[in-house]
Amino acid sequence: MTMKNWIIATVCGVLVGILTPIVAEASSEHQHESPSFVQPKKPLKGEKSQLQKLIDRTEPGGTLFLEKRVYRGSLSITKPITIIGMDDTKIHSLTTALTVSDTQNVVLENISFQAENTAIVVSNVQNIHLKNVGIGDSMAGIQITKSENISLHDVDVLGKEGHFSSKGHAVAIYESKKITATDNDIEQVLDGFYLESVEDIHLTNNSIKNSRYAMHMMYSNHIELANNNLFNNMTGFMVMIAKDVQISDNMVAKNNMLNSLGVYVYDVENVLFEDNELRENTTAMDIQNARDITVEKNVFLVNGTVLHVQRSQELFVQQNEFHGNILTVRTDQQGFSLKRNYYDDYEGKDYNGDQIGDTQYIATNSFGQWMVRKPVYQYFMESPSVMTLNMMDTEVTENNTQVVVDEYPIILKKPFSLEIDIHIWQLLISSILLISMLIIRRRLK
């Protein structure tokens, strides 16, 4: 081989070396790798996946930056680590994509998961934070057991097509403490959040659609559910056997399929439900076996039945607004307290002008009681015979202590206030311009 050939061969070799895409290497030096477009080899059975090797090589407490590509395999984390992906970093698995166990301080950011089973399984972990994580086309999303200080921010879970009874939960948490979930977007799953035996829960600014129960809690205490949007689920909030619950500023709408409820509380204690809007639900609130529960300052719009109450004498419903609902209350003989609410179907007068009706508002009626016993009777609502029965009710409920009435119905809505902000500078400049134009026009004439 001549010298010339040697030089050409060497140059070609160098060029090939440079142009060959770089295979992901461990990068625990806190910097991004250059993107690669080569599909990695599928690991053989028993062989560690490429990403698992990268995780193993990262020192405890270190940060691993992933490339913009698809990693395959079932991964395991058992040490403190931060894993940050790029916009299109994906992890696909034929079983569970990621298992995190017996460790602390784990952060996952900017990664999408797809798995045949539950995408992420966490157990016995202190401090785990998931941020900007996507889960799609998986049997279930995230399952967390016996962990503490869990934060989920901007996690998107999209379940498979089909009926919810064949799917898993988006986020299921068992026997854990301190859960914070904000700005998560969940769709088409069994339950958006399923929490069992969990303490100290804060679920805020989440959006959950087309699922069985948007937020389902059992055997849990110290719960805050605020500013969530729950649309078109079988039930919005399902809170069962819980204590110290605050539900505020949420929108619960269009839960109107078979057996649908906006909010269902069962065997609960010390509950404050305020400033929520419930619209277009088959039943807005179903309350059973509740103790010390206050429902106030909510707006109930266009629901079938607003309140279905059983065995909940310690329920106080006050300062709410009821608009366009078919039936206000269905209850058992125990009843509950109804006070100072606005009802659009109240026909009383306010002659003394104190904004409180001069006659009581009768919230229950005989037909409502029958519907409690036989829900199928709801198909006769608003029929002529039922209307006549309702009218007769108003004549015979004067001394009937078993009827739920509001003695102080609000007759007028809140005073209408028009707020006008005047921007002085804009007004001044536009006035000068207008006057100038008029002067110029006059001069031109």
Binding site: E196, S197, M240, L258, N259, Y266, D267, Q288
Partner: protein
């Protein structure tokens, strides 16, 4: 004469049918539509489902044995024809009065009451060998403190 024989035979068949004890059969649970009568949860975990057949033929479905027992305690036994619970091993329906029950707070059930049903004492014993629990007679279930594991 032949006609009389036939009439006699038909009448005796009707009399026998009228005298026979009424039987109650469980129905299939529909995971997409059925909800528990007591707690209102949809019955998606059909292997833990229970049901009561009333004497009038109506079926009442439950997602957990605990909910069924609450119903029995609340409504009384007068109107109940039969009760059924799923066998943990085979998922077949068992009569609630004939099943063998095992309890542990570690057993998961939809309402977390932790009571499972088995077809025989042997199967129940085998189960608690693998996953520790205790055998609970049916009569005790009627006084069992169903709830947040208050029965511990």
């Amino acid at each position: 004469m032949k006609l009389f024989k036939w009439i006699g035979f038909t009448i005796s068949v009707f009399i026998l049918a009228a005298c026979s004890e009424q039987t109650y059969e469980p129905r299939e649970i529909n995971a997409e539509a059925d909800v528990c009568y007591m707690c209102n949860m949809s019955i998606t975990h059909v292997d833990y489902a229970a049901q009561i057949v009333l004497k009038n033929g109506d079926h009442v479905a439950f997602d957990d044995l605990g909910c069924l027992m609450e119903y029995v305690l609340e409504q009384g036994k007068e109107k109940i024809g039969a009760g059924f619970i799923r066998d943990t091993n085979s998922s077949k329906w068992l009569n609630i009065e004939e099943a063998i029950y095992v309890y542990s707070k570690e057993y998961w059930t939809p309402m977390n009451y932790g009571v499972l049903a088995f077809n025989s004492q042997e199967e129940a014993n085998d189960y608690i060998k693998a996953q520790p629990g205790e055998i609970v007679p049916y009569e005790e279930l009627l006084t069992f403190n169903w709830g947040v594991h208050e029965h511990e």
